[in-house]
């Protein structure tokens, strides 16, 4: 039972922005199975918080058996995680879900991340060998953007215009006249909605990583569904489980 819940150890923790933290976890053999776009469930040590927090995998270091998560402190659970120092134990389950597909070398791809949807794009950027334009959208404070530069051309958009294009990621695409065959994106739903429309308009293949509140993280509880265009094979209704069938879906199969 390779992907069981296990107690791991924090290798390092670093604050990247006001409320964004980066944690490397010594996670053992489970990292061998992990791929870009997958996530792990992280469990609180406090008994008042029972549900795991699903956090996307930002980087995988297979030789070292380590993985990195970059997450925002949005509540008490993630705040607890942010206080873990080196050597602290951390309970995780994963890797979970289906990540981004592989892409042939001759394609050109937009990798688009918005806000706390940026981290999973880093491992994806590392793993893809094709030509990549990396577009990152922020409210104001930048994080991780410099780390992307090793893997492709990086374009930034900020809502307040304090860095890069003023506006959203698609404003950056337009500002720079970028072109590609394919889009892979993760971020807030309004951004994904706009990207889905953009991809349709430009007849581009498009993969979106979705997010929803989860309970089990393994496909049993049916909490984290998204609406689908067709009746799903498993659910027999118009929805799919983000944790198990996703979080990455083909844009045309989901209704946002």
């Amino acid at each position: 039972m390779g992907k069981g819940k296990r107690t791991c150890v924090v290798k390092s923790q670093e604050r990247l922005a006001e409320d964004v933290y980066s944690m490397w976890i010594q996670a053992g053999d489970m990292v061998q199975e992990a791929g870009p776009g997958q996530f792990i469930s992280v469990y609180s040590k406090d008994g008042s918080r029972l549900l795991p927090r699903p956090i996307s995998i930002c980087e995988i270091d297979r030789p070292a058996g380590a993985l990195r998560i970059v997450y925002r402190t949005v509540g008490e659970g993630t705040r607890e995680f942010s206080e873990y120092g080196q050597g602290e134990s951390v309970d995780i389950l994963g890797p979970l879900g289906n990540g981004f597909p592989e892409v042939s070398r001759n394609k050109e791809v937009f990798l688009i991340g918005g806000g706390i949807g940026i981290p999973p794009m880093l491992e994806l950027a590392k793993s893809l060998t094709c030509k990549k334009s990396i577009i990152l959208g922020y409210r104001d404070t930048l994080f991780l953007n410099q780390e992307f530069e090793a893997y492709g051309d990086v374009y930034v958009a900020t809502e307040d215009g304090s860095a890069g294009s003023r506006g959203n990621v698609l404003d950056a695409v337009r500002d720079h006249g970028l072109k590609a065959d394919m889009i892979m994106a993760c971020g807030p739903t309004p951004m994904l909605k706009a990207i889905k429309a953009y991809a349709e308009e430009h007849h581009m293949e498009c993969y979106l990583s979705l997010e929803e509140k989860m309970a089990c993280g393994v496909g049993a509880c049916l909490a984290c569904v998204c609406q689908t265009k067709e009746v799903d094979h498993h659910s027999n209704v118009h929805n799919r489980r983000i944790c198990k069938d996703g979080p990455v879906f083909r844009a045309e199969e989901v209704i946002l």
Partner: protein
């Protein structure tokens, strides 16, 4: 060898630990973590005569020591269930308990009749889901309605019938007695307490359905109280549930009068919870020299 098996309406479970409907799918997902053959029984996600799409997301929210859910009984319908989920569960040496939901008495009867020829051990009739507009809890809060639906289901059921009761009532013994009067073979309780969470930063309801069912260890004292009250009020075997996280919790329900227990929210916190609870019950029996778990049922009065 200590005896851990219990009997629910003539069906022997190898141990008293089952899963709580809606938290364990039909076993496929948690089968990756727990050998389902260890379990006393698997209680499936509620199934209806036709596929149900459920409620809009967000469907769950964490609360202090628990969670609220408003899944809305999404399920693929009885046909897919019979063709896919029952054969899956048949691979394991465990009892199959199918949770049945519906919007009308006819809906329940339709599912129950469809299951008559299937290798299903027990039926659990969900008349207590707080998250669907029709059926569900509307049947479960009025003793007369409980008695009527129980009788109707019993008239068509081939397998023994467990009526699953709602805790959102003034007097749980009234609905329990009504289920008994209607011919129920067993009672399971508690379903979730109706709850609400508001996100003060977004100034919005945390689940799209506004209200949801509160579960988890937070509600255990309410569940234990109701199991105890029902155990004093009716002669039917009781399946106790509501916040069982550990073997200690399971034993508390058994001492209060439950013949078996269902583990729900705990699975989300610990996918191995059911197996660990089974082991922990055996350790408790060992420690206190309990030869037969049936000695513990309702032992605290």
């Amino acid at each position: 060898m200590r005896k851990t098996s219990v009997n629910i309406a003539g069906v022997e479970l190898k141990n008293p630990v089952m899963t709580a409907s809606g938290t364990f799918g039909s076993g496929q997902e948690y089968g990756e973590f727990v050998d389902l053959s260890l379990l006393g029984g698997v209680v499936t996600k509620g199934v209806s005569n036709v596929p149900w799409p459920g409620n809009p997301a967000p469907r769950i929210a964490e609360t202090y020591g628990g969670m609220i859910n408003a899944i809305g009984l999404q399920n693929p319908g009885i046909d897919v269930f019979v063709n896919r989920d029952i054969p899956y569960l048949r691979q394991y040496d465990t009892r199959i308990i199918v949770n049945v939901c519906g919007k009308t008495a006819e809906d329940y009867v339709g599912v129950v009749e469809r299951l008559a020829g299937e290798p299903v051990d027990l039926l659990e009739i969900n008349i207590s889901c707080p998250n669907v507009k029709e059926g569900g809890i509307a049947f479960g809060q009025d003793p007369k309605a409980v008695e009527a639906i129980t009788r109707e289901v019993k008239n068509h059921a081939k397998q023994p019938v467990i009526m699953k009761l709602s805790p959102n009532v003034t007097d749980i013994t009234a609905t329990a007695k009504a289920a008994q009067a209607g011919g129920a073979d067993a009672i399971s309780l508690i379903n979730t307490l109706t709850g609400m969470k508001i996100d003060i930063h977004k100034r919005a309801f945390a689940v799209a359905n506004k209200t949801g069912g509160l579960s988890g260890p937070a509600i255990k004292p309410v569940a234990v109280r109701m199991v105890y009250q029902v155990a004093q009020a009716v002669k039917l075997p009781i399946i106790g549930m509501g916040g069982i996280m550990t073997a200690e919790d399971a034993i508390e329900f058994i001492l209060a009068g439950a013949s078996a227990v269902s583990v729900g929210t705990a699975n989300f916190h610990n996918p191995y919870a059911t197996a660990e609870i089974i082991k922990g019950i055996e350790e408790y029996m060992e420690r206190y020299g309990v030869q037969d778990i049936n000695e513990l049922i309702g032992a605290v009065r």
